[in-house]
Amino acid sequence: MSSNATLRWASMLGTLVLALLSSGVVATSPKPAQAPLHPTVTLLPNGATVQSKSYVS
């Protein structure tokens, strides 16, 4: 393999590594992962103790 071809391969490899590294950063995205969309929900009776509230604030 000529030195030019070696350089081209090294350049491509470097680009690939950079792309992988940058996608590693993006992997922290808060977009929802593939998880069950419908969690198990138990409806509580009126007057049940509530620990937190999802009210508009």
Binding site: L44, N46, Q51, S57
Partner: protein
């Protein structure tokens, strides 16, 4: 001996935040609050030197952004697609036109003449380049990441609180664990019903808070570029992630009781609603 329940309440992200944890202690709560405040400094549109303010002032140029901002912008694009354009972060011009041009605590006034603002679809004005981790906003476009940031942050920060905790950022709430009674965390919804869940999120959107003037409120309908006219006052949604819950609840609010509830039913999520009380041709929030 059962683990001790620790809690922390504070104002951030323009809302009241609540953190609960069993057995992890105050240090985790303090760490989580610090991360919320750090995120607020990054994503607020009210501080001229915030990262969002710099991006909004970018005038079409690609700017390098932090990993956190890049991820949030990706989330905003996801929210746009998931809501078929109803949750559009490129809404800032309409918010400002409606009078929401400063922090709510500073007091807002409703403009004498309500003006409709044509809002661009987010994917047409926000470009991301993952190779250089940079973002560009089209000239004239500006973002508000308020609701999206609360939902996304609740999802990101829940692990900071341990495996039995609640991260409630202004009504966008993520839970995990069995809670103090062993059957899941008990969470109140907008209609004052309550559910128990061990993993997932509960999010509420509405027009009953952050109102000003006669009829202005913070929930902008991107189809009209004005505060939404809807027959719903509040919607709570239970789903897998707080970001998704935020998007679904806001979409249902904007669509109103007919289409909005069908939207939620089609997705199979549990939800609760509070209808608006109509007065003349205006819909007013019914809940306090």
């Amino acid at each position: 001996m059962s683990p001790e329940l620790s809690s922390r309440h504070f104002d951030a992200l323009g809302s009241t935040c609540e953190l609960l944890t069993l057995g992890t202690g105050q240090a985790a709560l303090e760490r989580c609050e610090a991360r919320v405040r750090e995120a607020e400094g990054r994503f607020t549109r009210f501080l001229p030197d915030s990262e969002l303010a710099r991006l909004n002032a970018g005038d079409g140029r690609y700017l390098p952004v932090s990993p956190e901002m890049f991820a949030m912008l990706e989330a905003a694009l996801w929210a746009f697609e998931e809501s078929e354009g109803l949750v559009n972060a490129a809404v800032l011009a309409a918010l400002v036109s409606a009078g929401y041009d400063r922090s709510f605590r500073q007091g807002l006034s409703e403009p004498a003449l309500a003006a409709s603002v044509k809002l661009p679809p987010l994917p047409e004005v926000l470009l991301l380049d993952s190779a250089t981790r940079s973002a560009a906003l089209a000239p004239g476009a500006a973002l508000d990441l308020g609701g999206i940031a609360k939902g996304a942050l609740a999802d990101l920060l829940i692990d900071e609180l341990g495996d039995n905790a609640v991260c409630n950022l202004g009504g966008d709430l993520r839970v995990q664990g069995l809670g103090p009674e062993g059957d899941g965390w008990h969470i109140g919804l907008c209609d004052r019903s309550a559910v128990a869940l061990t993993e997932g999120a509960v999010c509420t959107s509405g027009t009953t808070r952050r109102r000003w003037g006669q009829s202005a409120h913070h929930l902008i309908d991107p189809r009209t570029g004005m505060p939404a006219r809807t027959d719903l006052a509040e919607v709570s949604v239970v789903t897998d992630s707080a970001l998704r819950g935020e998007v679904y609840a806001k979409s249902a609010m904007l669509l109103g009781s007919g289409v909005g509830l069908a939207f939620l039913e089609a997705r199979g999520v549990h939800f609760a609603v509070v209808p608006a009380v109509t007065s003349g041709d205006r819909a007013l929030g019914a809940a306090a």
